[in-house]
């Protein structure tokens, strides 16, 4: 690992037990390893940011934490429970304590804005219609879309759809929330509001927030701990202040967006690519 790892990263959190814990975890798909030797923790009330370039494995990390893919090696615990050998019922019970904002929103196109946000409440609670409406409108108000509750998804813009997805992710007040690219496609005002909302939710509800992003300024404003991944491993971690002062060339290049440095622009070669080259009769 080439990272400058700051073990004394400061945290605003008052809680001690980690809600999410990666311990030397290796992740990948088939025979392709995306991330290896990853160690990361997120505690209640803490905002943890996972940053890295496109294709660095940030979303893979979230997919593993939500049980969509298994870990290849190492130990991954959610709410203190190992994600290995989990039964379906146990996994569903853990997922009920999580909220996820998907990279592309993943809103249900056959439902309107209100019903999309109400969906988790209708599926997992026995609230009456009035209570559902109250909660949904409160959450839509938090993302500035209360007056858009009646609109069909085809009538809202991409940025608005992401805010609807954000409202849906937090409507059940989960204990662990994953935000996959929460700032993508948002205008500067919405971006600032979304960032502050994530921070406020963690402070108010005491939930652990894992923000997967590559937007440096917004993230550094709200995060307690930042993990930077790249080239298949964890490159650096620490508080935003620590990373800002870091001399690590990888961190510097990433934060400053410099074109030259250790960050490779080329997509790494995979066994599948090598097989493809052999079939084509060309050198990899």
């Amino acid at each position: 690992m080439t990272a400058s790892t700051d073990s004394s990263a400061t945290s605003n959190s008052t809680a001690t037990s980690p809600v999410l814990e990666f311990d030397n975890v290796t992740l990948g798909y088939g025979d392709f390893t995306v991330l290896s030797g990853l160690s990361l923790t997120a505690k209640a009330g803490e905002v943890v940011a996972v940053m890295g370039g496109s294709g660095s494995g940030k979303t893979t990390l979230m997919r593993a934490a939500t049980g969509q893919i298994g870990v290849m090696d190492g130990e991954l615990k959610t709410f203190g429970q190992s994600m290995r050998h989990l039964g379906r019922a146990e996994l569903q019970a853990l997922r009920q304590r999580m909220g996820v904002l998907f990279q592309h929103g993943a809103l249900f196109t056959d439902l309107d804005v209100f019903e999309n946000v109400a969906f988790p409440l209708r599926e997992h609670t026995r609230l009456d219609e009035g209570e559902v409406a109250l909660k949904v409108l409160q959450n839509l108000e938090a993302v500035g879309l209360k007056a858009a509750a009646h609109l069909k998804l085809s009538e809202v813009s991409g940025g608005m759809a992401r805010r609807v997805a954000l409202a849906r992710a937090i409507v059940r007040e989960p204990e662990l929330v994953f935000y996959d690219e929460p700032f993508a496609g948002l205008d500067p005002i919405s971006m600032g509001i979304a960032a502050r909302l994530i921070r406020r939710l963690s402070d108010k509800l005491g939930c652990a927030s894992v923000v997967i992003t590559h937007d440096v300024p917004e993230t550094f404003e709200i995060a307690d701990t930042v993990y930077i991944v790249g080239q298949g491993e964890l490159k650096a971690s620490g508080s935003p202040d620590t990373l800002t002062e870091s001399d690590d060339p990888y961190v510097r290049q990433f934060l400053e967006g410099a074109p030259d440095g250790p960050v490779a622009f080329d997509y790494p070669q995979t066994p599948a690519f090598e097989r493809w080259c052999r079939d084509k009769g060309v050198e990899p």
Partner: protein, 261 residues
């Protein structure tokens, strides 16, 4: 060497098809195990019956009318040779309730509602909606697929009944109104000759079986498709081809079982 290669190709093809068959069987079991949703959340199924039924109602009714017209004409030309024009009502009713009603409805259903179901599920998959449900601890098979499956299975016999009913009216229009066969003979021959259990009920059983087959194939293709525009497009085509062939094959088997002596 060529023979070995051909044999290996046939083996690989058979193996691939067997794998798909196994996946289909497992998918069917998963659907059946979640059919309790009809009692737990009946509204979801009612919505789908309404939705799927509406998709196909117009095309089924119009097709039924024209099939009835043609049956009336063809039946009259043939029966006229033997001086048995009065049996036209019986011929039209038996043809529709036993065979054409269930079969043509299922073929039209595969082309209309079946493709819609495949495309809808495929696009939900492509848009990560099904993954989102799983992560929200909501079982997409129970929440999305099972109500659609039940909706298709319930809608099919209703649509087949509409098809047969409109077809009989079509036969009556041609036979009685246009050709001038006696209306009393048309209806009384039908009443005497059509057996509720042997003809109507067997027709209903056929349409339920076709409903299960076509809806299962449509949902399976959507569920298994590649989450890309091309993948969804191929899956919808496969739904029509596989659905239609399975309906015709099943019809032969069911007819042999139901109407043999």
């Amino acid at each position: 060497m060529k023979a070995v290669t051909t044999l290996a190709g046939i083996g690989a093809f058979t193996r691939r098809k067997l794998v798909v068959l196994g996946q289909l069987a497992r998918f069917f079991m998963q659907l059946l195990m979640r059919c309790g949703v009809i009692f737990q959340r009946p509204r979801l199924t009612v919505q789908q019956v309404h939705f799927i039924g509406n998709y196909s109602l117009i095309i089924i009714a119009v097709s039924g009318l024209f099939v009835g017209f043609v049956l009336g004409l063809q039946g009259y030309y043939t029966l006229n040779r033997y001086g048995s024009e009065e049996a036209l009502g019986l011929l039209v009713a038996l043809s529709l309730t036993r065979e054409l009603g269930p079969v043509v409805t299922a073929l039209l259903f595969a082309g209309r509602a079946g493709t819609s179901l495949t495309a809808e599920i495929g696009l939900m998959k492509a848009g990560e909606q099904l993954s989102a449900m799983e992560v929200m601890a909501v079982d997409p098979i129970r929440r999305v697929l099972a109500p659609r499956f039940l909706g298709g299975v319930i809608a099919m016999p209703i649509l087949a009944a509409v098809f047969s009913m409109v077809g009989i009216i079509g036969g009556w229009v041609v036979g009685v109104l246009l050709i001038g066969i006696d209306s009393g003979a048309f209806w009384s021959q039908m009443q005497n000759g059509v057996d509720v259990f042997n003809d109507v009920l067997n027709g209903v059983i056929k349409s339920v079986v076709f409903g299960v087959a076509v809806t299962l194939i449509a949902l399976f293709e959507g569920w298994q498709c590649k989450p890309t525009p091309e993948g969804v497009s191929r899956a919808t085509t496969r739904t029509v081809v596989a659905g239609s062939l399975v309906v015709l094959g099943l019809d032969f088997v069911l007819t042999a079982l139901m109407f043999s002596n």
